[in-house]
């Protein structure tokens, strides 16, 4: 399986789309060599704006551009967009339903060595609380391009959450806004994953199958809007749901599914993600393991859920 980093796909897709879409403007907060929007800047210097380390201003500048009919993409690290530009995203971009695309790079634990200050584990919770905002968590490089192209077609703001490190390009349908994709069918437990936890969930499902547990794996890149029908249909079969995300277990994908199921079809649930704590520096894979985001954690919790049904 080929490994590609989402940021490389993001930069390349911006350059490609920029060839034909002259309304596309890209703004970055002095991290364009990291997020790869610098590729766009090199190709189209008159449509690229390096705004310095000032995320709040950057988001509102993009909002102003959007009111004039342009399609701005703002890019920075996910944590700084979600936390330093929260007011701008909420009060200007979302309140006015403006066509601003927010590209959050280095999400989850993927800025691993930089430590807790740079690790974005609450961005989904913050973003999905805002009306009008579409929240996407692509699973691979192909999803990133699909997300970007669809985001440019719809009316309203879109948040695209991207991992820093190379990840596998999956043999699956590209992301569709509003849709969950069933990657593995099963009737014992539903595993809903997003981002780089999707390949992790696939691995866990294969190992669970060896143990006689038939897991259904949903790629839930579209966190908002959530594919209600797909989730409800799946738990109708399986009777339980395990959310998996590179994010706090509070308020992210697991939170979104909980809200849906609590009201419509309460079933046993569990959550794989960062518990209520701050993380630390270290190699990406070891960090994920230490903070409970791993195929073994998925297997353990899935088995416990299945057992709780009987």
């Amino acid at each position: 399986m080929e490994n590609i980093a989402m940021r490389d796909a993001f930069g390349a897709a911006l350059v490609e789309i920029g060839k034909t879409n002259d309304k596309l403007m890209v703004l970055d907060a002095d991290v364009s060599s990291s997020t790869k929007t610098g590729l766009f800047g090199k190709a189209y210097p008159d449509r690229f704006f390096n705004m310095g380390v000032a995320e709040a201003n950057m988001v509102d500048v993009a909002a102003g551009m959007a009111t004039v009919g342009y399609r701005p993409v703002v890019s920075a690290f996910a944590i700084f967009l979600a936390l330093k530009a929260t007011d701008q995203i909420r009060n200007v971009v979302c309140y006015n339903n403006l066509n601003v695309i927010i590209g959050g790079g280095y999400s989850g634990l993927s800025d691993s060595f930089d430590g807790a200050s740079h690790q974005s584990i609450t961005d989904i919770a913050i973003m999905r609380a805002f009306p009008n905002l579409t929240v996407l968590c692509p699973a691979d490089a192909n999803d990133v391009e699909a997300a970007l192209r669809q985001a440019l077609e719809i009316d309203g703001p879109v948040y695209i959450r991207m991992c820093r490190n190379p990840g596998p390009v999956l043999d699956k349908n590209p992301l569709t806004i509003g849709k969950a994709d069933t990657l593995v069918e099963g009737d014992d437990v539903t595993i809903g994953a997003c981002g780089l936890t999707v390949p992790m969930a696939l691995e866990a499902a294969a190992l669970l199958a060896e143990k006689g547990v038939k897991a259904e794996v949903l790629d839930m890149a579209s966190i908002k809007p959530l594919d209600r029908e797909a989730v409800l249909a799946s738990v109708e079969k399986t009777g339980c749901f395990l959310s998996v995300e590179e994010h706090s277990i509070h308020g992210g994908l697991g939170g979104a599914v909980s809200e849906l199921l609590a009201k419509n079809k309460p079933v046993p649930m569990d959550f794989v993600g960062v518990e209520d704590c701050f993380t630390e520096s270290g190699p990406y894979d070891l960090l994920m393991e230490k903070y409970g985001i791993s195929s073994s954690a998925i297997i353990e919790k899935a088995q416990a859920l299945v057992a709780s049904k009987s």
């Binding site: 201003n57 509102d60 102003g64 339903n97």
Partner: protein, 283 residues
Amino acid sequence: MTTKTNKELQALAQQFRINVIKTLNDKGTGHWGGSSSVAEILTYLYFRQMNIKPEQPDWADRDRLILSKGHASPMLYAILEEKGYLPEGTLSSFREINSTLQGHPCMNKTPGVEMSTGALGHGLSVGLGMSLMAARNENPFKTYVIVGEGCLNEGQSWEAIMAAGKFAPKDLVLLVDYNKVQLDGHSKDIMPLDPLADKFRSFNWNVAGKTYNGHDVDEIEKSFKWLSKQNEGPCVIIYDTTKGKGVDFTEDTHTWHGAPVSDDHLKDALPQLKSVLSKWEDE
């Protein structure tokens, strides 16, 4: 429409003050101090300066105005109604449920409002984005942003001032309604901004050489004459204004930032406001 004389603009601004204070009394809510402070500046922009078509609020080449000090919304609404953006009588629904007139301006509810504001400090950033794109238009429009002290307390404003200095959009104009009073008290005690003009100069702005009286239309006219001669942006004009202008007990005090206007207050205020209106009308 015939061009109004400076005296007619003075009278108009004073009439807007009367409309606003009556509305705030009627509703028991809204910000009088900052609304009165910006009356002449806003009136001049809408009735003399800006290239706009009220009958076509989304006209692509229109000049943009962002009232970053969004709490002065009643004054903006009074003007938008007079200009024909809003049906006559709309002002009387200010802050009511289901109204098009929100407590702070909302671009998706009120025709003529270019940007929703209220949380302070956003306006200049948004205006910078607009003006950067205006420069790509065949007919570049001007973007005017009005801020008060509160906006300039916000860190985001200084991010925007820094960025505007970098990109230097020719048609971005910042107008400071410098009344030197904010919600909690005088700015010198809360968060001093002086020397304000020097701050802008040090951020590479084109700063008007003097501070203009923001309640004197002749002076405001001079400030825009200065602006018309500028070839380099961004430009900033600082106006010396008085919070709560026009009513003796509301002038230059933070207590009238957002206090409700009682019937007794109105009874006291109206004769003062009307006598100045008569003066301008008689001249």
